[in-house]
Amino acid sequence: MAATLKDATAIVGIGQTAFAKRLPQSEKELACRAILAALADAGIDPSEVDAFSSYTMEETDEVEVAKAIGAGDVTFFSKIGYGGGGSCATVGHLAAAVATGQATVGVAWRSRKRGSGPRPWKNTAVQLPTPGQWTRPFGLLRPADEIGMLARRYMHEYGATRDHLFNVAMACRNRANENPAAMMYERPLTREMYMTSRMISDPLCLFDNCLETDGALACVIVSAERARDCRQRPVYVHSAAQGLPAQHHGMVNYWNDDPLSGPAWTAARHLWKQADFGPQDVDVAQIYDAFTPLIPLSLEGYGFCGRGEGAAFTEGGALEMGGRLPINTGGGGLSEAYVHGFNLINEGVKQLRGVSTAQVPDAATCLVTAGEGVPTSAILLRA
């Protein structure tokens, strides 16, 4: 019998800093504060940490973090590629390391000063060589432009409308309005505000885009056995997967045979194959929402509906509390904070602990996904 990740490890601690447009602390300090908060939540001393995982565009190395928090000897560390596509893979890598005995206490984290810092797409020296030579000279400068291109085609092929995208933005905003830690707490959204807001990359308007945020989050992973002795109710890592589809290219799939079936499809196949349950058994989902169109594309990729049905799925309050699939219950990247998707991981843990500000009653299973469009990752959590 081959080793399996299934429920072999658990997330036992989560931590976060404030989320804001501008925080005074450095990215490194924010990382350390979130990690120490997560370890305190777990009741584990920082000197016991022997594994770290982060993802690219993280400015603070594990060397700096380990030194600052007083970690012990570290025997596993990894940095996953493709920015926001790597968020869930940090949990997957640590789960694998702990399950196979390479380490005992793993910490994953994300720290960003995107609210007050420079925007990555302005760094043309880094962005222009391959694959940027095929897109950026023509003015596809920002991720919003690249995803906007897919969104337009999706709308054309499947009759998706801006109202469908509004359904996504509204569900996330409604949850943020219930979450005092969210940047958009007490800032309701209306359909009129959405429909009259300025365009960022037509067909995507202001409210189709995530928030620029300063902030950091972290979580702690240990074996299921160790988890039983921790302070918090364990949230088990049931299944984990990464997805880099055949012939995929960089930020988007424009050169695949089928650009509308992105990395989510690849990750999903492996994720479900390893799981004891399927999409119909997911109580709540945290789906990477740097841009609203990623939600219908992901709903299809992860099997909540058929190809081309993701937009229609959002109708009738399906994504709201009490709906068919409540999503992004902390507000997501669109309305809680955009910390490259890490807030979705911690929110999944909150749901399965039963302590979310928008708690789905008796939630026992949660899907968390990373960025779609880029090589991605996903995890299934269970209480």
Binding site: W134, F138, L140, L141, R198, S201, L204, H249, W255
Partner: protein, 143 residues
């Protein structure tokens, strides 16, 4: 404006563009010959490292488009909102090239009325000199 920074695999594309030719990399193995884009060292179908650059007709259709608005890099903000189109080539519909739909080869990126942008519209390549580098632009077949 940003100029392409070609890598070793992409350089021939831009060299042919400078001569006014739209060429796409193709496998040179006699039994294969399949086109591929973006360019790369070897054929994903037969793994041959022999390649050639095949001349395209320069005709295509708009597969999708966006209209970026500021905040943008200054040279682009000056023309915003402009269009970026993704063109599927008539000769090889699975090969798609990002570009801009313009009223004439040297016209600015916002020179076509947005009402004319339509998925499926037929377009024809032209080449524009931007700071010493020729980049493909696209013109509507029926302006």
């Amino acid at each position: 404006m940003l100029l392409p920074v070609p890598d070793e695999d992409g350089t021939p594309f831009w060299e042919y563009a400078a001569r006014g030719e739209l060429r796409v990399q193709a496998c040179a193995a006699p039994a294969c010959g399949r086109l591929r884009f973006p360019p790369r060292p070897c054929c994903p179908h037969c793994r041959s490292f022999d390649s050639e650059w095949r001349l395209m007709s320069g005709r295509g259709r708009i597969w999708s488009y966006v209209r970026p608005h500021p905040p943008l890099l200054p040279a682009y903000a000056a023309q915003a909102p402009y269009n970026v189109i993704l063109v599927e080539l008539a000769d090889a519909p699975h090969i798609r090239l990002a570009g801009n739909l313009v009223a004439s080869p040297d016209a600015p990126l916002d020179s076509v009325d947005p009402a004319r942008l339509r998925i499926g519209a037929r377009v024809q390549v032209a080449f524009t000199d931007t700071g010493g580098t020729a980049v493909p632009r696209w013109l509507l077949e029926r302006p």
